[in-house]
Homo-oligomer: 241 residues x 2
DNA sequence: CCGCTCCTTTTGTCGTACCAAACTTGAGCG
DNA sequence: CGCTCAAGTTTGGTACGACAAAAGGAGCGG
């Protein structure tokens, strides 16, 4: 037992918060490796010399912070945090916000904003490999025009390539967040090969502009694409404005 | 007592989760108004016919989701969620991520990316009032060159105006998040009137380009500005690359 | 009206107990 | 030897009761 635990603060803060920070440290320092289950609650209460109440509170807090993955009745699994888990941990609030008036519109507009910048960046700085990835994603998209289910996936994947161009892990995380948050709305949309073809053509226009290194054209193509997609959603769901 | 409560699911999910969703509904539907304190725990356990254990777990969950503001020993206060609270609730994870290698750089680069798009947008679509706000913020910035403390505030405020141009509540929330997360690093930076003057001149260049409706010039001015600021930080803290 | 004390309420923590679901073990079998 | 399945064991989810400490009020005196 050479474990040196920082002394628990005498008073003021909650004991649970202290346990949370202790476990956080263990996760970050690698004592608790990614993917391994957390020790049993009764074991933790012994290690931290505290009650199960406190341990359980700490666990729920860590869970909602995304540092551990806690399914009911199962051992919580530690999950080393990345920007992706950070974003997914706000999913619950965002879902509430989307239920409000204009919530979806607000989120979607921000997505358009971000992607406009992304295609600009791609036109400016995409590497040869980025272009190849885009071309590949575009081809996959074209090949699945007749299969709406698959088309949706390849559509998402195409946009996903754009989020990876800046080589910043935040952007793929943002992309995943956007798609998961907006998916419930998208999935209820009627699909059709004709519709898919229109979207594919938009993707192709974006791709062509990027290849031509024409940032303005790329941005405009993307904006047209996403605005049209929104209009389609709006009419279908009869949203305001 | 005309309150109709959805029947608690028989089994499977945690009881606490059910209570969480119930209180969420009360907050969103306005039964629990913003700013009012939550009912006492014993009252809630009576209303939901459950134990205090469950009620308390629900409260901690709601707290870490940012739907209520819970200081120890004080009654939790209801806080209607916005995109701002959503972002601030991930602060705890982001703080951990910033401690990792290149964490700050990653976050800062994303900020540069976003602001590049913002100044472009401002050059394209800023209203007369936006321009006036920018001019005012710039003037305040200039007037506080000699007061580094105040200069930092007006600096932040100037950038903040840019985040408000798209008229999308997500962006001001993002700005607040960026500043609060990066503030601990910035505040340890040495300041000087000379340094402030350089930054002010950068702001002015950005402003001028926006007024001229020159998106390319605005973007470049901003990139130069933030890259220089980063270089300053990097050298001071001797960070890698 | 202000400030102090005393009493009530409420939160934070602990301990115990019980159930049901998950896990472990080992016997039995092909 | 490996697989299946049914026991027992562990462990998470919930409930109940208790108590110290702090907050919130009520009353009292200035």
């Amino acid at each position: 037992m050479d474990q040196i635990e920082a002394a628990r603060p005498a008073s003021g803060g909650r004991a649970a918060d202290w346990v949370v920070s202790q476990i956080e440290d263990d996760i970050l320092s690698g004592v608790l490796e990614n993917g391994t289950p957390l020790p049993a609650e009764r074991e933790l209460m012994e290690r931290f010399k505290t009650s199960r109440t406190v341990v359980r509170e700490a666990i729920t807090t860590l869970s909602s912070r995304g540092l551990i993955d806690a399914k009911p009745r199962f051992r919580p699994v530690v999950r080393k945090p990345g920007f992706d888990t950070a974003l997914s941990s706000v999913g619950s609030i965002v879902k509430l916000l989307l239920a409000e008036t204009r919530g979806v519109k607000t989120l979607y507009e921000s997505r358009v904003f971000v992607e406009r910048a992304l295609v600009r960046d791609a036109a400016r700085a995409a590497t040869r490999k980025d272009i190849d990835d885009l071309r590949e994603a575009l081809a996959a998209n074209q090949n699945s025009i007749s299969d709406s289910e698959e088309f949706y996936r390849t559509d998402t994947a195409f946009h996903g390539v754009l989020y990876r161009v800046p080589r910043n892990p935040i952007f793929p995380a943002v992309h995943e967040a956007y798609t998961s948050w907006l998916a419930p709305h998208w999935e209820r949309m009627p699909r059709s090969p004709e519709r898919n073809r229109v979207n594919f053509m938009s993707h192709k226009a974006i791709f062509d502009a990027i290849v031509e290194r024409d940032a303005d054209a790329a941005e405009e193509a993307l904006e047209t694409h996403l605005k049209a997609a929104w209009e389609y959603v709006r009419v279908t769901f009869e949203l305001e404005e």
